[in-house]
């Protein structure tokens, strides 16, 4: 009845959608199995994409040919570039999205890919032969065969929802959980653990008094995520609103603690420190007399509101009473209460850099199953898992990004080498090469690579080439272009930077911290004769202003790449190297890394093991 697929993707959240789209666009025949066709691409938590470090990831996904950037752009209701006042490494795009339209756009985008088939069913078991996955079994009793399987179960594996003392099994509120897979994976030898996360209540916008809140509007000149010409920046935007909790709210919440699953010990999973529930905030930071609450619209037309900052698993009555003491929410009506959810994950140190599991060949994990949190983190793993599943099935080289190439590289490297104790979220501080991994150069870093493996389209590559050329021309021009002093000096004066007595090139002028390329707008007929767009001008400016930092990081990155590419001697007997740790000897013998870099990506291989490998095992015939 069912044809054989190249790849089956179980789960259709951010990870599953990207995985299915990537593999199918690269040429694999894909089956996307989801429990519910109407919740494809669902935003389970807040209706927003991007933010600091996360925005960079979305742009990387887009640059590689993934779809999250395009879907986000098409459904944006508000856009802000965060951290504008800081250096370019910190600029981070963030969008509020229409939750319904976001899911709809994902579904439609997948429907447009001929290689994607859909099945509404639940995967209950993997079919594994000789340590290799060959398909899945479903709740409805089907056996589906495939060469590779990508699991993107999100919070659904043995999901348990808590609201006060009530416990419900489910992967999201009102949706059932998935059982069976965890038990089978444990039998196959996988380690597993529990994690916890939470979400705030959604309330009726008609019950709110916005006059008591601060407005938070979008950027005046909004930008967008996708590098492609397929989308454009939005014109009209919706605002968010800010209000605060107070002592009274905290007192009410505290009264509910005796019924809180967090404090009565019913929740065992570990939640993220950077996304605490409101009850966590008032306990851990008891001296803080108020906490910020963001009121975020759920879409263009709906009245539903997302109460960002008020994640809670207290009883419904306590949630309502506490909310009603927040300014502007005095008459708040809850549509859906907040809740906490516990779910199974598999420590990601059990994965290869391709996100394939070590234990079962051709089985890939992506998203929350790996202990991460966030749509962006999930989406990029799905993308990488989908790409690599395709490449494996077609017997091509794997696609792995390094820490100096992308946040995606940092994320996967952190996961597989260090694992994670709490839901893993990306921060820019996790990246050693922050200055290289800018949101505005993600296409420079990745589009060509994405194109080479068959994902990013030729059209995207052409756009990149055009941009490269514009920037190169502009930089060349600025090296020598000097404006007449009588035109320039008045500008310098208003910017509070020393006036010139001799002409100076635009390049040198832009090195002054007080001057930005946009200040030269009145002279664009001379300064920008090629008509470079704002992103191209901005990148040219960054390359001038931050040149020493970019060069410094580049040099370190090259050094690391060089050392990682050192080849280990073939047929080396790692067991005979007594100075290696036991764990290292065992893992190296089993996994047979070919380079120092590959050895480095194995969890449990310490810095001192690597030094010993450098001494013993590096092929010294390389000269």
């Amino acid at each position: 009845m069912f044809s054989k697929y190249d790849i089956i993707v179980a789960g259709a959240g951010h990870a599953g959608c990207e995985a299915a789209a990537a593999a199918a666009n690269m040429g694999s025949k894909v089956l996307l199995v989801t429990m519910n066709m109407t919740t494809i691409g669902q935003m389970s938590c807040n209706p927003a994409m991007g933010g600091v470090a996360k925005g960079q990831i979305v742009r990387e996904i887009d640059a590689l040919g993934g779809l999250s950037g395009i879907i986000t752009d098409k459904t944006t209701i508000q856009f802000r570039m965060l951290n504008r006042s800081k250096g370019p490494a910190m600029w981070s795009p963030r969008a509020q999205n229409d939750r319904w339209r976001f899911a709809e756009e994902w579904r439609l985008a997948l429907e447009r890919i001929p290689n994607v088939d859909f099945l509404q069913d639940t995967v209950t078991e993997l079919i594994v032969k000789d340590d290799r996955v060959t398909g899945v079994k479903t709740q409805l009793g089907y056996e589906l065969s495939a060469n590779a399987v990508v699991l993107t179960n999100g919070t659904f594996l043995n999901g348990l929802i808590h609201i006060g003392e009530k416990q419900l099994t489910g992967g999201r509120i009102s949706e059932s959980s998935a059982t069976g897979i965890t038990g089978q994976l444990v039998e196959l030898g996988f380690e597993t653990g529990r994690m916890k996360t939470g979400t705030p209540p959604r309330i009726d916008g008609r019950s709110m008094d916005y006059s008591k809140m601060e407005e938070q509007a979008g950027d005046e000149n909004p930008s967008k995520f996708s590098f492609s010409k397929e989308t454009s920046a939005i014109q009209n935007q919706r605002s968010c609103w800010i209000t605060y909790t107070n002592d009274k709210v905290h007192t009410i919440l505290e009264k509910g603690f005796s019924q809180s699953p967090m404090y009565t010990g019913r929740i065992q999973g570990l939640g993220p420190r950077y996304c605490p529930s409101i009850e966590d905030k008032i306990t851990r930071f008891a001296d803080k007399d108020r906490h910020q609450i963001f009121i975020e619209p759920e879409g263009w037309n709906t009245v539903e509101i997302y109460v960002n900052g008020f994640s809670t698993s207290l009883p419904y009555e306590v949630q309502t009473e506490a909310l009603r003491h927040i300014p502007g929410l005095e008459n708040a009506k809850i549509f859906r209460p907040g809740y906490a959810i516990e779910y199974d994950y598999f420590p990601p140190t059990q994965l290869k850099p391709t996100l394939e599991t070590y234990l079962v060949e051709n089985l890939y994990f992506a998203g929350q199953i790996n202990g991460t949190t966030g749509y962006e983190e999930a989406a990029c793993q799905g993308l990488m898992a989908g790409m690599n599943a395709h490449l494996k099935v077609k017997e091509e080289n794997p696609f792995v990004l390094s820490r100096s190439e992308a946040y995606i590289g940092v994320l996967i490297d952190d996961l597989i080498t260090k694992g994670t104790e709490e839901p893993y979220r990306m921060f820019t501080s996790r990246a050693e090469f922050r200055t290289l991994l800018r949101q505005n150069n993600a296409d420079f870093r990745l589009t060509e690579k994405g194109n080479k493996v068959g994902l990013a389209s030729q059209e995207r590559l052409d756009v990149l080439r055009g941009k490269e050329q514009k920037i190169a021309e502009t930089l060349e021009l600025w090296k020598t272009l000097k404006l007449p002093l009588e035109e320039l000096n008045p500008l310098l004066e208003t910017k509070g930077t020393p006036l010139l007595t001799e002409k100076m090139s635009i390049e040198n002028l832009l090195k002054r911290p007080q001057l930005a390329v946009t200040d030269f707008a009145p002279f664009f007929d001379k300064v920008n004769p090629h008509g470079a767009d704002s992103e191209e001008l901005e990148e040219a400016e960054v390359l001038i202003k931050y040149k020493p930092y970019i060069e410094k990081e580049n040099q370190i990155a090259i050094k690391i790449t060089d050392s990682e590419s050192k080849e280990l001697r073939r047929n080396i007997d790692f067991k005979a190297i007594k100075t290696l740790s036991n764990e290292a000897r065992e893992k190296l013998t089993k996994l047979k890394p070919k380079t120092l870099g590959e050895a480095k990506k194995i969890s449990g291989i310490s810095q001192s093991d690597l030094s010993i490998l450098l001494l013993y095992a590096v092929n010294s015939d390389e000269n």
């Binding site: 910190m90 950077y274 996304c275 390389e622």
Partner: protein
């Protein structure tokens, strides 16, 4: 092919006092480094593989007259340009020469690094290199213990504090980068400058204490403890009697602590005799006991003395004190001539008859020194390595201070701070992003 672009230096003979101390320099700038201590040596023009006499200077001050041998690469031990300098065996001279060479751009060799270079330059086969790898492993274990010893002292507490301050400072910078949208108070520039100045001051003090204290006055501190009249002074005198030629007698700042330097098997030990440890109401004696505890904190090894007539509870409580500090020690039953039945597990000594004294000396060298000093590149250098790491940390922080003052944005500041964290991390163990995030999450309410 040469894999390395820097020049390394280390002492090639065992640390301690011998007639000669040989320093080895290897790398592309080996000859330049030698010129920095011996400007008139004309080493560049000299033939390879020949020894020559040369005067060694630190600036204008002549330190020594030494024998040097030049080896031009690739015909040398490491395959690189190498200079070996035979100095007179004074720790002061050795330290000074190393310092000058470091200033001229050398770096202290990692344990086993000469051999590693020899292997990588194919001067050695794998079997030979294997022997070295074993040595590296054993040395890092010793280094680990050395670090632990220092951890017990006040100095290491300061380094630990410094680490924490630097992590917290970094957290403040990262906070406004990764969490700019959060409702928390961000540090302003004036606060940041004040903080970084504080850390720099702290660091300068540490560097000062390193260079004057640890690095110059070498000698393994061995503390002699025990209840009053257990025979501590008698033992010290007996040890001194035997080694009459080489004794320097340093009176402590009070009459309660006496230090004596002795050389056993060519290694110098600083024996510290202490006031008897016991509970007392006597004020003066209490001062003495506090000092004894300080000495325990500083020591690398302890000799715990117990006489047949010692109070057992007192001995036990002293033993507790030692164990609390994880200090290796040897328990000695003194006045052995007065003991009739002897448990074979204990070490017996009669300073009066000299019974057990030779064995004790062997035991001290074996137990307190073993791997720590067996090879030349450790003990002496550990201090210098720390010193160097602290100096590099300081350099980076001075850059950070300048950067804050010039109004550089936080992400670029962070690049400089990471350098400082890296250097300090080489002493205290790696400082990771988890340390920084941990500091942020513990201090600030993060998360919408």
């Amino acid at each position: 092919m040469n894999h390395w672009d820097d020049t390394i230096i280390a002492l090639a003979t065992p640390a301690g006092i011998g007639a000669l101390a040989v320093l080895r320099i290897s790398g592309p700038k080996a000859f330049d480094a030698f010129l920095s201590v011996s400007p008139k040596s004309k080493i560049l023009e000299r033939p390879s593989h020949q020894a020559f006499v040369s005067r060694i200077f630190n600036g204008d001050q002549q330190l020594d007259e030494a024998l040097a041998v030049k080896f031009s690469g690739p015909n040398s031990f490491t395959g690189e340009d190498v200079v070996e300098i035979s100095l007179h065996g004074s720790q002061y001279i050795v330290q000074e020469v190393i310092k000058v060479c470091l200033q001229s751009g050398c770096r202290l060799a990692e344990p086993g690094e000469f051999t590693q270079r020899a292997f990588l330059n194919r001067k050695m086969d794998l079997a030979q290199a294997e022997a070295v790898a074993d040595l590296i492993a054993s040395e890092s274990e010793a280094a680990h213990r050395t670090a632990l010893h220092q951890l017990k002292g006040g100095l290491s507490k300061e380094i630990h504090d410094l680490r924490q301050h630097l992590i917290d400072f970094t957290a403040l910078i990262e906070l406004e980068l990764d969490f700019s949208e959060e409702d928390v108070e961000f540090a302003d520039r004036t606060q940041l400058i004040k903080l970084v100045k504080g850390i720099i001051g702290h660091l300068k003090n540490l560097i000062h204490s390193f260079s004057t204290g640890q690095a110059i006055r070498n000698g393994i501190p061995i503390v002699i403890v025990g209840p009053p009249n257990a025979g501590k002074s008698t033992l010290l005198n007996a040890l001194l009697e035997e080694e009459k030629a080489i004794v320097s007698h340093i009176a402590g700042t009070t009459r309660d602590v006496i230090e004596d330097i002795l050389i056993l098997s060519g290694i110098s030990f600083r024996f510290v005799d202490t006031a008897g440890l016991r509970q007392t109401e006597d004020f003066v004696e209490n001062i003495g006991i506090t000092k004894t505890r300080e000495q325990l904190d500083k020591a690398s090894f302890a000799l715990l003395l117990e006489a047949p007539d010692s109070n057992e509870n007192e001995v036990q409580s002293i033993e507790e004190e030692i164990k609390q500090r994880a200090l290796p020690y040897l328990k000695i039953k003194t006045k052995a001539d007065l003991i009739s039945t002897k448990d074979t597990n204990d070490f017996f000594l009669s300073a009066l008859s000299g019974q057990g004294l030779e064995e004790l000396k062997t035991e001290i060298v074996k137990r307190s020194v073993d791997r720590q000093m067996l090879h030349s590149e450790t003990s002496l250098i550990t201090n210098l390595r720390h010193f160097q790491a602290l100096n590099l940390t300081l350099e980076s922080l001075i850059q950070v201070e300048a950067a804050i003052e010039s109004g550089l944005t936080g992400d670029l500041l962070a690049t400089d701070i990471r350098e400082a964290l890296f250097h300090l991390g080489s002493i205290t163990g790696e400082i990771t992003v988890e340390d920084v995030l941990g500091s942020i999450f513990s201090k600030f309410c993060i998360g919408k």
